[in-house]
């Protein structure tokens, strides 16, 4: 029985959108504190390779997931040391971390290329499994990370917009001098945001290797980190809108796979371009009008209150 195209698309969008969602949420928190992390691509690779290697050694994907989250936090703390403590240029620091991620992930993953692992367990609630239109798809047969994707986005929104900490964080991203004057240390908030963003980025990478593909390959993130950075702009630095954005891009990837699986005559090379071109098209359509939504001090270094 063949699956209807739309159902297949939705199912695929949710599966491949999950890691994009965690990555974009992490970058949203970091950018809300006024820091652009261009090294997200490297962070995802570190998460994917650490998660896969620890799982391959220990046989326990949960251990791999925790290790990936911890490694992600560590990578981002190193970035924090550069841009917060040493007040270095954010773009160059981000690219330094990107290169570090390229190299470190290759080194960490090398002994485990081709290893077979038991990925994160997936389950489908019994009452949904009985529906015939569900059975033919991957719908509702998710691992914990996919089940938690929407709640986590809601939690990040609550954290940013409904807590004192979130207010402080956003204040730091908008105007660190004013935040400093009101008794908040911008550096502390930025380190906290980077740590949280690193955990989410590490999880995002681990989802790629532990659930979506179940393998490790060098450069396997294939630009997802950069797509996530573009998605932050698309979703106006709002965690709830991130859900829409990641579904759209997960859908673009799913469309590519669905067309290939259905024996489309379009070259796979052209289909693979689709997510990147769609990202640019989306920024083209909405990016210009969204600049005002950006945290006002995004990318600037806080040199202390004068």
């Amino acid at each position: 029985m063949t699956t209807p195209l739309l159902l297949g698309l939705l199912a695929g969008a949710i599966l491949s959108g999950t890691s994009l969602l965690y990555a974009t949420l992490g970058e949203t928190i970091v950018e809300r504190s006024g820091i652009v992390n261009l090294g997200l691509e490297g962070l995802l690779l570190v998460g994917a390779s650490v998660g896969f290697s620890v799982t391959a050694i220990s046989g326990n994907p949960w251990l791999g997931l925790v290790a990936a989250a911890a490694a992600g936090a560590l990578v981002n703390l190193a970035l924090g040391w550069l841009v917060v403590t040493r007040k270095a240029n954010q773009l160059a620091s981000g690219l330094a971390m990107m290169f570090f991620g390229f190299g470190a992930s290759a080194l960490i993953g090398a002994p485990h290329v081709g290893a077979v692992i038991r990925g994160l367990p997936k389950w489908r609630p019994a009452w949904l499994a009985d529906l015939s239109w569900v059975q033919a798809t991957t719908l509702f047969k998710y691992d914990l990370l996919t089940w938690l994707a929407v709640p986590v986005a809601g939690f990040v929104w609550w954290l940013l917009f409904r807590t004192r900490w979130g207010l402080g964080l956003r204040a730091v991203g908008e105007n660190p001098n004013a935040a400093f004057a009101s008794g908040r240390d911008p550096g502390v908030f930025q380190y906290q945001a980077l740590c949280l963003g690193g955990v989410l980025g590490g999880i995002a990478g681990a989802h790629l290797s532990l659930s979506l593909t179940g393998t490790w390959a060098e450069y396997m993130t294939a630009g997802r980190g950069f797509i996530a950075i573009a998605l932050v702009i698309f979703s106006k630095w709002d965690p709830v809108r991130v859900i829409v954005g990641t579904l759209l891009f997960g859908g673009a990837e799913a469309l590519e796979l669905q067309l290939q699986a259905r024996g489309s005559l379009i070259s796979p090379f052209l289909l693979e371009m689709f997510p990147y071109l769609l990202t640019i098209a989306v920024l083209l359509a909405w990016g210009g009008s969204r600049r005002l939504a950006a945290p006002a001090s995004l990318g600037r270094t806080f040199y202390g209150s004068s």
Binding site: L38, A78, W81, L82, R86, K87, A88, N89, L91, A92, S93, L95, A96, M97, M98, F99, F100, F102, G103, A104, S105, A106, L107, A110, E218, Y219, A222, G223, F226, I227, I229, A230, I233, S267, F269, L270, E272, M273, Y276, L277, T279, I280, L283, L284, G287, G288, T301
Partner: protein
Amino acid sequence: MPEAAVIATFRNSDAVRAAARFAGVSAVALLVFALVLLAAGKDPLSAYAQTFRHTLASSYGFSELLVRMTPLLLAAVAVALPSRLGLINVGGEGQLYMGAFAASAGVFLFPGAPAWLLLPLVVIGGFLGGAVWAAIPGALRAAKLVNETVATLLLNYVAPLIVGYFIFGPWRTTENSAYPESSPYPPAAMLPNLFGTRIHAGLLIALAALAVYWVLMEKTRWGIEMRAIGGNPEAARRLGIAVPVWIVAALAIGGGFAGLAGMGEAMGITGRLRQTLSPGYGFAGFLIAWLAGGRPLGILFMSFLFAIITAAGDTLQISQGLPYAVVNILLATILFVVLASRGGWGVSR
């Protein structure tokens, strides 16, 4: 002059300070990377010794460094030129592939043409391929629609797919080849080699590009206008400088240089179009330009240093059995040390 004063003057001279900084940064980076190699179960001393033997210690090794330096120089100028306007071009990798692609298109359109026609054709094609590819984000930025950093990064992933489409499709070699590549170029399309080594005419093109960059920036009215935009775009606009035109032009010229790097790799080294043309020369170009603060001599020096680093990557891969990508850790370490020690080599922050 008392001796102490002489020493003080000596110590304060810019060149000496730069050299001292460079030595310090290199030492720390090599030390940190040695720890990484140790952690990977390799002997850092033998890895460093092997790299030295394969590069600086032999005339063949040295000529190979100049071969590697060729694309790095061009990729660095591709970043440095737009950066004078405050534009961040992180799309060198894609522009490089599009240059090689356009040059190849020229060759495959006129395969029987003589060398005096084909060589100018591949040079122009290489430049145009990269220039058009960079002009896209340039136009989007000039129209204030999309940030050029994000757009150039994303286009890096599209360009190799275009190359892939053609080498798996219309240009696919008919020979029984181990991996996907195009048919070989006719000998007339290949850049001439120099000194009987693998060094090819691309090196002269790269040095010329660096000279053009220096003259354009320091000696012409255009350079002044571009630096004015980089300093204060609003003031430049009020002075009557056509800011959007310059944004597109600077990125296009930069992209053209990166395209020439790709052309040089294809027409100077591989002799065919491949999807594995560049091991990250485009990104390395960004780092070179940034570390050199955009200064021509600095770019020359840093390109040479990066040539040694990429050679180290080969050594790690071939004789130490580590993935080539591991050399990125060394790159990151160097950057990390420079970023963490304030001031850089006069790098503006």
